[in-house]
């Protein structure tokens, strides 16, 4: 039996082929990326151009109708895709950049540094998530990028906590002791041994956090703190659509479904990754 990291390309393909859920989720996400890149080719409507054709029902001309400012809903959904992808990845990226170093150093060094960082993690975790994100966004100034940075800050403690525990486990492994006996410097041990071995659960957590970031972006845009008009974001479209829900329900359902499906895809990928990366599968002999 070969390990997952043996020959990356071929084992990835075999994974996709064997796990239907993983294939579906991954395929869906690839579709989203293509949609983002090829948006102008898919719809000739501009997402921000206003017309006089308000709240038209779905039809041959406008596949999903128009919103209260006469903008084509389908176009807005399509153009909202890259926003959502950018948002999820930015938030998770910020979370990793802040959380990984702190967590790893805390786990590796132990002592007072670990105690202080652990207290900081506990503190940040006492802030209800969205509340903290809203507060930080308010301070930084509203807008998509700032909002996602705020969400990243909210994610960081969880990531730090996770990698800290993994680091502590790996730090005590025999092969790390062996590396010490060879006279390997600490930073090299961290890079060569600790990171590759501690990172596994983080990978799964990342996919779940992508879903969380997506939902957070939707919430924040819904509240007016994220993507600012006139640019579309699925969350923002929901906000507008809500006011007209009785007249034009399509506006409310489509962006909501988009968020739901994408979150499910991230989650599904995470679950599949989790069972795939399960250490008992590696079959250490």
């Amino acid at each position: 039996m070969t390990s997952t990291f043996d020959r990356p390309a071929s084992s990835f393909l075999s994974w996709i082929r064997s796990d239907l859920r993983a294939a579906l989720c991954f395929g869906y996400l690839v579709l989203l990326v293509l949609l983002s890149a090829a948006a102008p080719l898919i719809t000739h409507y501009s997402p921000i151009e206003q017309t006089m054709d308000f709240l038209a029902p779905p039809g041959a001309d406008h596949w999903l109708g128009t919103d209260d400012l006469g903008r084509d809903v389908f176009a807005r959904v399509v153009y909202g895709t890259p926003m959502s992808l950018y948002a999820s990845f930015l938030a998770v990226g910020v979370g990793l950049v802040i959380g990984l170093p702190f967590g790893m150093l805390a786990g590796y060094c132990g002592g007072w540094f670990d105690a202080v960082v652990s207290r900081m993690i506990d503190t940040l975790l006492s802030f209800p998530g969205i509340v903290l994100a809203v507060a930080v966004t308010g301070a930084l100034g509203i807008g998509l990028t700032n909002a996602m940075i705020a969400v990243g800050i909210v994610f960081a403690p969880n990531i730090a906590r996770l990698i800290r525990i993994q680091t502590i486990v790996v730090k005590n492994e025999l092969y790390v002791e062996a590396a010490h006996s060879f006279g390997m410097p600490v930073w090299s041990i961290i890079l060569r041994h600790i990171v590759p071995n501690a990172i596994q659960p983080i990978i799964v957590q990342v996919t779940l956090m992508l879903a969380g970031a997506l939902l957070a972006e939707a919430s924040l845009s819904f509240l007016g703190l994220g993507v600012q008009p006139p640019w579309p974001s699925w969350g923002q479209m929901l906000a507008r659509g809500y006011t007209y829900m009785e007249i034009a329900p399509a506006q409310m359902y489509v962006p909501g479904l988009a968020i739901l499906l994408t979150a499910l895809a991230y989650n599904g990928l995470g679950e599949s990754l989790r069972s795939r990366l399960d250490p008992t599968r590696l079959g250490r002999g």
Partner: protein, 316 residues
């Protein structure tokens, strides 16, 4: 008594957390890019306006002094005044907090009342069709954007059937049933995430217990499955449940922010949002401060309950 001493010690550990939380809340203002006074003053302010604001907010004094003053005042119940309305922040927050707490607590209760039976159901029939359905719904519950669900519920139940009011809230003290009626839909919306979490966690920890060697031995001895479930299964799982409830409460309190927007409830959440948009920092800080204190208190209670219930934790 060692238990009391342990509880006391555990309670003391909260203090550095509270301290750091206040530091973080205070530090929010430091995050503002550029000059906070100018930002607060707005686009059309003159240099004198900005200077006046800077002085009145004490932004010209060194940071630690500002923090000290702020903390001192906070401890005495003075969370400064709103920049927009000029009214004391604490009063404002206290005025709007009950609505938030009502739906949060109600949501938690619903989540427990629905989540626990579902979790038990799924665990006792593990891997059956029913279990798969329940797990599937739980997965859905985590992925659904709360406010969207709220909107759908409103359109079906409030607008469609007219069972519940669409928006607003009633103060609990003056109009009990009215308050509840207004709170049901928002609470139901909020509860979905909690139901999903509780169902999943309870199911997995119950399955672990029910499939353990220990329980299988009891089964072989002929004990009835129901008794096993009740005595051993739930007792072991109740500790996990307690932890999950703490987490769910934390999430729920945060999620009220968006839910309040959907249902137009004037609660603490929408207060923070509006203040954030309008750069009314004292309100943001004050409201966040109050919410964080509530969460810390709740977590402490859960921690203490946990230690009391779990015999292993008391040692060492």
């Amino acid at each position: 008594m060692p238990v009391l001493r342990f509880l006391f010690w555990r309670a003391m550990q909260v203090i550095p957390v509270i301290f750091m939380a206040t530091l973080a809340i205070f530090g929010l203002v430091q995050l503002v890019p550029g000059d906070p006074a100018a930002t607060i003053a707005g686009e059309y302010a003159t240099a004198e306006n900005i200077e006046a604001i800077r002085q009145s907010l004490g932004l010209d004094r060194p940071a630690w002094e500002q923090y000290g003053t702020w903390l001192w005042n906070a401890v005495h119940g003075d969370l400064s005044n709103s920049l927009l309305t000029g009214l004391p922040v604490l009063d404002e927050v206290m005025r709007q907090l009950p609505s938030t707490l009502l739906i949060a607590v109600l949501a938690l209760v619903i989540a427990i009342l629905v989540g626990v039976p579902l979790g038990i159901l799924a665990a006792t029939r593990a891997n059956s069709m029913l279990d798969r359905v329940v797990t599937g719904i739980a997965s859905l519950g985590v992925a659904v954007p709360n406010f969207w669900l709220g909107m759908i519920l409103v359109s079906i139940f409030a607008v469609g059937f007219g069972w519940f009011p669409t928006t607003g809230a009633r103060p609990l003290t003056t109009d009990f049933w009215g308050a509840l009626q207004h709170a049901v839909l928002p609470a139901a919306t909020l509860a979905t995430g909690g139901i999903a979490e509780i169902t999943r966690q309870l199911r997995s920890s119950l399955i672990e217990v029910l499939q353990s060697q220990y329980v299988r031995t009891l089964r072989a001895k002929g004990l009835s499955p129901a008794l096993i479930l009740w005595k051993h299964g739930l007792r072991n799982a109740s500790l996990t449940l307690l932890t999950v409830v703490g987490l769910v409460f934390n999430h729920t309190l945060g999620a009220t922010v968006a839910t309040e927007a959907v249902f137009a409830i004037p609660g603490a959440g929408s207060m923070i949002v509006n203040a954030a948009i309008n750069k009314d920092f004292p309100i943001v800080q004050g409201a966040v401060f109050v919410l964080v204190m509530i969460v810390i208190a709740m977590n402490l209670i859960i921690d203490l309950l946990y230690t009391v219930l779990d015999p292993r934790v008391k040692k060492d």
